[in-house]
Symmetry: C2
Subunit: 816 residues, 2 copies
């Protein structure tokens, strides 16, 4: 029994819920037949045609073609025609055309009656309503997840006797015995040792607490992995690679379904609470997309159209990031930059609306208890100095190196999981990693606290009243000027915190590599940011002490006099977090905007940008792909990267099927094949579509017909249309010629014929072909030479070719 990872794995496509994948993926491969010899030059032996004259007859009716076509559209469509099988690529052009037809029909009808007018208006506003609902639902879910995760994280340490449903913070809010100094100590909050052995002191109590901590962590992790395994295999991982693939036009049924939503929401809380090195940000995008997809079913406009639905999913992804960080603008830019494929500008505004509604829903739930929209609100009081760009750039280099290292090792580990026995024991794997994490984490307070708390503390600028170890400076109040706190020498607390943070850094770096890709919901934003924030804080405190003790050095003395507040270590933490996140995800503008929304300071855009830019350059130099693209490639999703330019100088004829030496392209003729002929072709081949030509000899292209539509139509005709038998001739022409009496009735299938298939010439450079596939969202493209049909290129051929050009084995790469 196997299921997916962040990372759907190898076997999952062959077994279980993925069983249909192999066959349908080869469906998609229209021309995948091992070849027998046939050279292109042989084509000259094709005899000249007498048919050549007649073949244009079908055009006779061309003058009234346009009105005829509209008639065809108003005909009742055969049910099933125009839908897709699971694990197929959608045809954006066709979907958009269908939506425009629908829209036109509604607009035309709206003049007829008041009811139709209302329908038309409600149709126009349904998009906005949908956005509102997505915002509300995903905001509420995010709030729910935040609150539950907070409570369950605290459950690992103790329980509130004032009400078990309170978390540590709320428990002590309600208490009367709390001073401001010891906000988190109150009699109502009992650690497990207090409950079990009635004391919180001594080695034994420590061991009890340690034991309970690990036990809870294991319990949560076990629940999470079991729920994912049993109920919703798609709920694991961050989901962003799969969502990118879906948005690029692939169909994975159930990936955004209600079961996935429910299980992902629950297991996300469990996974976060278990103390593993993972975040909830990526999975929240998946949750929001599930919401979007489910809500689409309430609206005809979106339910029936795969392209329109993907527009909604883009907006939902924006809402997901928006609630993950409380950053609506950053969310929209993230969706634009990272997730979306076809992002019409129209959806920009709607995405923003959804993101904003989601953020405000979350704020009114107020899970952080601070009325702030954002996760890590910080306020720095000191401007940064130009010289500080040097350490910021160093942090950028660190972030880039960490990003590249993480991607390489994580991918290597995930590949090992896919290819070895390891992948067969997901539950054991999760439990082992959880146990190691929990055992190593408990003794160190910075690993014991939840990662987002840690980041929050690292970002924080030390005030006078801060009592944490990180703020344990030696105070010399006489040197302060104004309300600012000057740079001060570090106290013992700071030094011990530095050591603990260094250990935390090592643990996080190592354990995150093994955690991301396990069979539980796991995001990467928070762990990456934590790594960067720790490194940044360490460097920041180092700089601060250097400036304090050596303010007479040339690099300092121009701007950092004694007793001034020159260096803000919290800012370094923030810059480091941005650098590491950038190195892993290769986000650019959205990263800077998210960080700036997180912290609310326009002043710090330049440091953030310097670090993010360095980090991206360094990481790109070591490997072009971000973590999501790497996982897409690892899992062989049919994703045509929109950002990378195709750099090789191959031509369409090098890519198209049939290859040289392959048998001829399987084509249908427009007016000479019988039902039986076509049924034979259907049963003998697995191609998902067939070009229709005037005649086999001339190879003049008329149109393209999809296998699925053909099968459904013939079946339908056999059932309903009187007298259609195996010897009936199928006509794809506009008018069938008058038939002699006593011949079987003909079957007219022009209505399922795509009369505007895309064609390119055989000498078209592949870079242009790739561009066409990307920008128009094609599923296949026909190749002609001097007006004769020569071959076909499918999206899969393009992907294979790109993989081949990048020196990867094309077959091992795709759909493995």
């Amino acid at each position: 029994f196997s299921f997916c990872t962040g990372a759907m794995d190898n076997r999952s496509f062959q077994q279980g819920s993925f069983s249909s994948f192999r066959s349908s993926s080869s469906d998609e491969d229209l021309m995948d037949i091992p070849g027998t010899a046939m050279d292109f030059s042989m084509r000259d032996d094709v005899p000249p045609l007498d048919r050549e004259v007649e073949e244009d007859k079908s055009y006779n009716g061309g003058g009234i073609g346009s009105s005829n076509r509209i008639m065809d559209f108003l005909e009742e469509p055969i049910p099933g025609v125009g839908t897709y099988d699971d694990f197929n690529t959608i045809d954006w052009v066709r979907e958009k055309s269908r939506d425009r037809d629908r829209h036109r029909e509604i607009t035309n009808k709206s003049k007829e009656s008041t009811w139709a007018l209302i329908h038309s208006v409600s149709d126009a506003f349904s998009g906005w309503l949908l956005m509102l609902l997505i915002g509300l639902l995903s905001g509420s879910l995010a709030g729910l997840i935040d609150i539950s995760a907070h409570w369950m994280t605290d459950l690992k340490e103790g329980i509130c006797t004032g009400g078990f449903w309170f978390n540590h913070e709320h428990c002590c809010w309600n208490s009367e015995h709390v001073t401001f100094e010891d906000r988190d100590k109150c009699p109502e909050w009992n650690s497990w040792s207090q409950l079990i052995i009635s004391t919180d002191e001594g080695a034994f109590a420590y061991i009890v607490n340690y034991f309970m901590y690990v036990l809870w962590a294991l319990l949560f992790a076990f629940l999470a992995v079991s729920l994912v395994k049993v109920f919703a295999p798609y709920a694991c991982g961050s989901g962003i690679p799969e969502i990118k693939t879906i948005l690029s036009g692939f169909i994975i049924r159930g990936y955004l379904g209600k079961w996935t939503l429910v299980i992902k929401t629950i297991t996300l809380v469990l996974a976060v609470s278990s103390g593993l090195s993972l975040g909830k940000e990526g999975p929240l995008v998946h949750v929001a997309c599930c919401c979007g997809n489910i809500l689409c079913h309430c609206f005809n406009k979106y339910r029936k159209n795969e392209a329109k639905r993907r527009e909604v999913l883009s907006a939902a992804a924006a809402a997901g990031v928006s609630v993950a960080f409380g950053a609506p603008i950053g969310g929209v830019l993230f969706s634009l930059e990272e997730v979306s494929y076809y992002f019409p500008l129209k959806t920009l505004w709607r995405s923003f609306f959804a993101a904003l509604v989601a953020a405000f829903t979350l704020r009114s739930i107020n899970p952080f208890g601070n009325s702030r929209l954002v996760l890590f609100y910080v306020e720095f009081h000191t401007p940064w100095h130009l010289f500080e760009l040097v350490p910021f750039i160093l942090l950028g280099i660190f972030g880039g190196l960490w990003g590249a290292l993480f991607i390489r090792t994580n991918i290597a580990w995930c590949r090992k999981r896919k290819t070895t026995q390891l992948g067969k024991y997901p539950v054991v794997e999760v439990l082992v990693v959880t146990a190691i994490t929990a055992i190593l984490a408990f003794p160190n307070e910075y690993t014991r606290m939840s990662t987002s708390e840690l980041i929050s503390e690292l970002f924080n600028d030390c005030g006078l009243l801060d009592s944490s170890k990180l703020c344990d400076y030696e105070n010399h109040f006489n040197t302060s000027k104004g309300g600012e706190l000057p740079d001060r020498p570090a106290g013992r607390g700071v030094y011990s915190a530095m050591w603990q943070l260094a250990l935390t850094l090592i643990l996080k770096i190592v354990i995150t590599i093994f955690t991301f890709g396990m069979k539980i919901p796991s995001g990467l934003f928070i762990p990456s940011m934590a790594v960067g924030a720790i490194a940044g804080r360490l460097l920041g405190v180092g700089m601060e002490q250097l400036a304090y003790y050596h303010h007479d050095w040339a690099i300092f003395n121009s701007w950092c006099s004694q007793g001034a507040d020159c260096i803000t270590p919290g800012l370094y933490a923030m810059v480091g977090a941005a650098a590491c996140l950038g190195g892993v995800t290769r986000m650019t503008v959205s990263l800077v905007v998210i960080m700036f929304e997180l912290t609310g300071g326009l002043e710090y855009i330049v440091p953030l940008m310097a670090a993010a830019m360095t980090s991206k350059w360094v990481a790109d130099a070591l490997g072009r792909e971000g973590i999501y693209d790497a996982h897409i490639r690892l899992n062989g999703y049919p994703f045509l990267e929109a950002k990378e330019e195709f750099a090789h100088k191959t031509l369409a004829m090098d890519v198209m099927k049939p290859r040289r030496n392959d048998p001829l392209l399987t084509v249908l003729t427009q007016d000479s094949m019988t039902v039986e002929d076509i049924e034979t072709i259907i049963s003998e081949t697995t191609y998902s579509g067939f070009p229709v030509v005037v005649s086999r000899e001339s190879q003049r292209l008329v149109g393209f017909v999809l296998r699925r539509d053909l099968i459904i139509s013939i079946e339908n005709a056999r059932k309903k249309q009187d007298g259609v038998v195996s010897t009936s001739i199928i006509y794809f022409t506009e008018h069938s010629p008058p038939m002699p009496p006593y011949t079987p009735p003909t079957l007219k299938l022009r209505n399922i014929l795509d009369l505007s298939p895309f064609t390119v010439t055989d000498l078209t450079p592949m870079e242009i072909v790739v561009d066409i596939f990307r920008k128009l969202g094609l599923r296949q493209c026909l190749v002609t030479h001097n007006g004769r049909l020569l071959g076909i290129i499918t999206k899969k051929d393009v992907l294979k070719h790109i993989a081949q050009m990048a020196n990867q084995d094309p077959d091992s790469i795709l759909f493995n």
Copy 2:
């Protein structure tokens, strides 16, 4: 002598600098011949071909086509081939291919020597360097413009005796005789009456000041209009419609040249200083794009490639908005949403970089003297209440109505200017409008001050120390709680300010309609924002007084107790400004982001968004186009709108040339035409390109050749290649057959043949064709039926068809 307006006008295309336009625009129209009778059905009479067999011979060599093609590319290109004439549309696909070839060549060479490696690296970083330079230059220019405009605006009122180069504010900064209360009164600053009649009191002094004010305004306006007229006709208007057109792939030489830059910078200062109702924001985008275009000439990569250069211009536009408002993120989004056409995600990051550098350059110049990056920094202390959404939405409705009204009346006036005698006297027009503006503006202090100062004052939340009339409330300090100022009853100053603001509103509304489109640089952002800010402030003060006097009303009493600070009139002004700007420009996300960056408060996104959304809906209901699109249509620029979907159900065959009854498509054959034949065709037609077919009878498409390339190549061959004469046969095939002796040498032109022309079938819906043109940036597309070439669709045909479908006369619309 005529020149352009915001709004290039009618005659300008026929006379003066535009003289080449008519002819070249008809060049572009490949198939524009009045028709003789030829019906499509006639095609069936075409005899069957014996050639049909031989025609594929050229494919014999196909096997080595790919390597041959590379050889062709390495051949020394004929100079001039691959460039464009003025007023032509570029072919994005071809430009991009060329850039990729160039890139490949550099990458391949980089392995050969260190020097080539350095070249390759410097080539890769030249984009970033260019962005840096654009940021620095446009930031500096913006600073220069700000400072000069500030000084010259004050010059209308008086002069500083401490140094004539000081503006009013700086003059008094340097003075020792200044109290905080009367910051702007100091002995060094002399009004004109003080200088001329040595007094500032009395009616006569007032008249002297009035007279001088009008005189200076007229002088500045006259200088501006004369400079534009004499030196750089392109420098007028906001420039955004033209930049949109250029970015969509049109060539207007000189529009972004150095003369335009110099004159626009100077005249912009003059125009702003003259006190006309115009802003500098739109023109700053033009200035930044000029910088970008000029700096492109320093880099081979961008100088020679029209597509790459447009990427740079997109980024420059972002930098322009960034310095106009001090809003780098807003600038990038503005460029993305409003200006750019092909915005590859790669440029998003670069645009952001350029925008940021520009903003920081401007900040270090510090033209506003407040160390703020932004134009109107405000800080509000009170949160907004949900109920206030009602007035915010009212402001949105006002903004939408104003936007729709403005666009209609302004376009009507501009059309009048184009079609009547009015347009012949641009100088007189400018002087008259300036005189009216100045005469009406002087008596009212809110019209006398510069518009951006006015907006700044309207946005401002009244503090205790504010001494302006707008803040003249009756103080009841006993009711204040905490540091906040409660709502207070308005004093006499506020009431008189309200009257003056109402008059200002009317003046601005009326005069802006006549100002925008005159023959001087004029932006629209600031006047629109001013209108909205005044309306917002009026409503805000009204609400405030209502809440003060009727705090027991049901709508107030739940949240607005007596003595609380409930209503912030400055926020209303801000929301109103956003609404009006949105109504005029139809910006959405970028508008909200700019407003939020302007004021620095994430908290107010919801009010801004509510107003912007309402405004857009209301304005869209009254007219689909924003002001820039309206001006594009008014001037007939060949701009294919990327946002609007084509909603009609026409087919490619309805749009293609030749129309039914027209003569056959002019085609070249691949191996049977002589130099003379082709020269005859070139001289007899004006089409900018010709399809090449296997034979006239079969109409099987081989490729497409551009007129310009053909002329240059034939000329070049006649000059250089020995023995090419009129009877030489031109071969477009790969191999020319062996010739009998004593025949003239052949001319091989396969290298200028585009072997991958885009084709669609005649039954392709136009919505798909429009989509292809937009997304791929095509210049023309060939139409086939069953593999036979049937016709051609150019970008201009598409634009004409769209105009026709929208019930506009296609010929009066385009290029008039």
